[in-house]
């Protein structure tokens, strides 16, 4: 390369690296650091070693809610994997059929809820499912299924599932679009060749198209994972920061919010908040590493 000092390199890289470092990377590292400190009642910050972690994992008042939130979060993720991504795949597969009329209208409309605010979605569904308003009950009644109706959002057994399904409803457009784009990028002649060989559309889909889009499916999985373990808005909008009933909808995001920011007469703690954030960081890191070392490797081997 050139001998002169690479000013252009600085020019191209500096803005992104600076903003990213100052407002994303540094705060993250600082949060990790802060988790090793504690505040005394009169506001003096002092080094506390791993004390906060012992409290979080060893004190029943902290570990109970933490494991509960982690487990709920896992269920939240599993529901997305089982419902959101298969529906996304199905819709994408249908949309990518050749000569489908109205494909553009469909994909535009189905993607629409993704753009609406989670807060709005939360309120809309709360109204829809409200026993007082009775829209859903009336709807079920119409099919003679009125007896199935329950206050789903209010029951410990069903509140989390209901919220996960609302989230699926909103975000299904994202896997759909990603998979759709991947399906479109498969060369036509490949499909044609299979067709000529007499393979059924079903077989072509599973044997040729799906393997080719496996990397995209992997990307969808990891985006879902990171997104879900960061979720907060929907639960906060519908159930508040206490994530009732009896913390059955409490996920790591709401737990972090309560710890850091406080709630009602519980006073927030920056250092314990940082500790919870660090645990979330570790959970996400472990998940992503597992993905890269196990899934991604196999995928690449499979492909080439």
């Amino acid at each position: 390369m050139k001998r002169a000092f690479p000013w252009h390199l600085i020019f191209f890289l500096a803005p992104a690296v600076l903003i990213y470092t100052l407002f994303s990377a540094y705060p993250l590292f600082d949060t990790l650091r802060l988790s090793l400190f504690t505040d005394s009642p009169d506001g003096v910050r002092q080094f506390h070693g791993l004390g906060n972690f012992f409290t979080l994992l060893g004190d029943d008042n902290w570990s109970g809610p933490f494991w509960n939130a982690l487990w709920n979060n896992t269920k939240f993720f599993i529901i997305h994997m089982l419902v959101q991504n298969p529906i996304g795949l199905l819709l994408a597969a249908l949309l990518s059929l050749k000569d489908l009329r109205g494909a553009r209208a469909y994909r535009t409309l189905i993607f629409l809820p993704t753009l609406l605010s989670v807060v709005i979605i939360g309120f809309i569904w709360q109204l829809m499912l409200s026993p007082l308003w009775g829209v859903t009950e009336g709807f079920l009644d119409f099919f003679g299924l009125g007896f199935l109706f329950e206050a789903w959002l209010g029951r410990e057994s069903s509140a989390l599932i209901t919220l996960a399904l609302i989230s699926v409803w909103q975000f299904v457009g994202i896997p759909m679009m990603l998979i759709y784009a991947a399906l479109l990028s498969i060369p036509d002649d490949l499909i044609e060749a299979a067709h000529v060989d007499g393979a059924s559309p079903w077989r072509i889909f599973w044997r040729i198209r799906v393997p080719l889009i496996l990397p995209t499916l992997g990307l969808v999985t990891i985006l879902t994972f990171v997104g879900n373990f960061n979720a907060f808005e929907l639960i906060y909008a519908v159930k508040g920061a206490l994530a009732g009933p009896n913390f059955s909808t409490d996920i790591l995001g709401t737990f972090f919010y309560r710890t850091f920011f406080g709630y009602q007469s519980q006073i927030g703690s920056a250092t314990m908040g940082a500790t919870v954030a660090t645990m979330m960081f570790l959970v996400i890191l472990v998940g992503v590493m597992l993905y890269f070392f196990i899934v991604q490797r196999r995928l690449t081997r499979y492909q080439w």
Partner: protein, 279 residues
């Protein structure tokens, strides 16, 4: 096996499925908009009916428009979404270009450092972001949100754009350099226009989470003059939760601008998404 009638019925099945799902996606939104034009009693007694002469009412809208700052909130949201969007696109493309075009020591390490932001959500740094913003005296300013959202959007943008910049044919760049085009002009006048579809793809992935964010507005800019529409709607609804006319009108008003914006942008965004095709 592929008889015409069979093909016809399977086509019908495809449309039935897609139409069905489209209805599921739209029904709640339509229901809210319909009911926002009805009187309070009609909302309760017959939620599924269209507004008729007896039940038509604009009471909710009158109240919402009079008592809240919807335009201000919407303007705030637009500002803190569009500015970061522009910055992410520009800075992201510049960094992606530098990372894929120039070989320098620490290139891969820097790429890895930047990619980390995809895996680790910026939200986990909230504790110290708030402290930084307090230190810079930026709490309750648009700038605080703009900086955070730009930092949040960059990693994914750089990752996707690096791949696209790498696909620009070598000859093109060599030809330009032979003519003595500077590195800056090469990027801004030749490369940037070439990767436009990819930029559109990145735009949508950057925009959606920023527009929807409730977390940082709640923590960094909850003041009345900097509230985004998410926060504004949330608090407005909290305030009038019992007045369903107003709630439904507020929801509709929060939805409508997005619908209009989407109608304008959807063709560009989706074309970018599908033609650029995330690999």
């Amino acid at each position: 096996m592929n008889g015409p009638s069979n093909r016809l019925s399977s086509k019908a099945l495809v449309h039935f499925t897609l139409l069905g799902y489209t209805l599921i996606a739209l029904f709640p939104i339509i229901l809210v908009i319909i009911n926002s034009f009805k009187s309070r009693r009609a909302i309760f007694t017959d939620p599924l009916a269209l507004p008729g002469p007896d039940s038509f009412s604009l009471a909710g809208y009158a109240k919402v428009l009079e008592e809240s700052n919807f335009l201000l909130f919407f303007g705030n949201s637009l500002l803190v979404t569009l500015v970061p969007l522009f910055l992410v696109m520009l800075f992201g493309a510049m960094a992606a270009w530098a990372l894929s075009e120039y070989r320098f020591r620490g290139n891969r390490l820097l790429a890895l450092f930047l990619a980390m932001g995809i895996m680790v959500p910026i939200r986990l740094g909230t504790v110290s972001i708030l402290e930084i913003m307090v230190g810079l005296n930026l709490v309750n300013t648009h700038l605080a949100l703009i900086l955070v959202y730009t930092a949040q959007g960059l990693p994914l943008a750089i990752l996707i754009l690096t791949e696209f910049v790498g696909q620009v044919p070598e000859e093109l760049k060599e030809a330009a350099r032979c003519e003595g085009v500077s590195e800056y002009r090469l990027f801004f006048q030749i490369i940037l226009p070439l990767i436009r579809p990819a930029v559109a793809t990145v735009a949508i992935f950057t925009m959606v989470p920023i527009w929807n964010d409730l977390w940082f507005p709640l923590i960094l800019a909850p003041g009345p003059s900097t509230q985004t529409i998410q926060l504004g709607v949330q608090q407005f609804i909290g305030q009038y939760a019992t007045d369903w006319n107003s709630v439904l009108s507020a929801l509709s008003l929060a939805v409508l601008p997005v619908l209009v914006l989407y109608a304008f942008l959807s063709q560009h965004l989706i074309r970018g998404l599908t033609s650029g095709a995330v690999k």
